[in-house]
Amino acid sequence: MVLELYMDLLSAPCRAVYIFARKNGIPFEFQFVDLLKGHHHSKEYIEINPLRKLPSLRDGKFVLSESVAILLYLARKYKVPDHWYPQDLQACARVDEYLAWQHTTLRKSCLRALWHKVMLPSFLSEPVAPETLTATLAELERNLKLLQDKFLQDKAFLAGPHISVADLVAVTELMHPVSAGCQVFEGRPKLAAWRQRVEAAVGQDLFQEAHEFILQIKDISPADSSTKRALMPGVRAMLQ
């Protein structure tokens, strides 16, 4: 029975898992769970993941949530090339360090930037106070600086000379504010060069494919009122 990955490429963690599985030739069935239609709240999906989050993995009877857990599970099970999550103790610790940091910092900022700048006003017709957007973008700036100065520094990739899951997680997050029209790589040559390297390592075609939907996000049509009602509570909790 083939592995199932429950995903929506709107979600950055889903994009990281998608790219990782595809790049490593891991056979899987893409189970599309349409976030913007609220399918993560469906009875069927709640049975897979009662916390209603994406991505989820189902491998036979084993069901797993949380993108980092899924990435590391896939890396180990399918014995992917070592650089993705190195055996070397210190190299691995650098990846773990980034993965631990990003959860409550860059990931939150990127999510808020997308939702405060585009999704709330344009998709959910929910105005966002200018101070809120300003604060979100300031926090994003702060986290981008930390990403560049503390994690990347002068290395080729976040945890060392080779691409790892840390880079995949980071770059997919950054495509959220990029798609929302934020200046992420402009004026940050080190980060811009790193992004080029990550795209080249992953493969341009795969990278573009994974980001096709999010890159068009500014053109999204407004949701109807029942969709809005269904999604708002979850969105508010997510942006807390």
């Binding site: 916390l51 949530s65 949380e66 993108s67 857990a69 599970y73 610790a93 993965l99 631990a100 959860h103």
Partner: protein, 228 residues
């Protein structure tokens, strides 16, 4: 050169690392940092979330018993799955009370009532999920034995407990789990690690608590502003 750990036992992640190292008899030099006096740890240890990376590193380097961070694929995945949820819902949330009741007053300010209420709601919801969804009928968070996840959670729980909150009313599974983890660690180690945080309110009342110097105020105020 041996292992140096820069820790302040008032901090949950620091206690987790301390307990793990001591329980596993990992030799280290304790470099006490007094966060209240504006002490700053090594940059890589400044952020609390790095404790996960430190714990994993120590478990692998010192080859601690398998149960802490199981080698088996699915068992290890469960630890990471829990830690992912932990980062979103426990980290940051359980530490707010120390700011509300101790740290903010110490620098002459306070956390807005609305934020205090919001934090309390988040705390209660997280406890319910922890009790029902993660722990359920299992002895420990991800299975039959103690893992890194259990000590990370124990130390987060100690923060509001030390500040007088009854976390386990109506949450029998969690109460039993807490006792189980403390029994596993041993009373002596728990007393040692929990001493400073458990006496924090007493220190406030007796005014024996160190007052953060002016230079410590700006980063503390920034941290306060980030409370949702």
């Amino acid at each position: 050169m041996g292992l140096e750990l820069y820790l302040d036992l008032l901090s949950q992640p620091c206690r987790t690392v301390y307990i793990f190292a001591k329980k596993n008899r990992i030799p280290f030099e304790l470099c006490t940092v007094d966060l209240l006096k504006g002490g700053v740890t090594q940059p890589s240890q400044q952020c609390p979330c790095f404790s996960t990376a430190i714990l994993i590193y120590l478990s692998q380097k010192y080859q601690t018993e398998d149960h802490w961070y199981p080698a088996e694929l699915q068992a290890r995945a469960r630890v990471h799955e829990y830690l992912g949820w932990h980062a979103d819902f426990i980290q940051g949330t359980f530490g707010v009370m120390l700011w509300t009741k101790v740290l903010a007053p110490l620098i002459g300010t306070q956390v807005p009532e609305e934020k205090v209420r919001r934090n309390r709601t988040a705390l209660e919801e997280a406890l319910d999920k922890l009790n029902a969804r993660f722990l359920g009928n299992k002895p420990f968070l991800t299975g039959q034995q103690v893992t890194l996840a259990d000590i990370m959670v124990l130390e987060e729980m100690m923060q509001p407990i030390a500040l007088g909150l009854d976390l386990y009313e109506g949450r029998q599974q969690l109460a039993s789990w807490h006792r189980r983890v403390e029994t596993f660690l041993g009373a002596e180690l728990c007393e040692e690690a929990h001493g400073p945080i458990m006496t924090i309110l007493e220190q406030m009342a007796c005014k024996t608590i160190p007052i953060p110097p002016p230079e410590a105020h700006p980063p503390m105020l920034k941290r306060l502003a980030r409370i949702p």
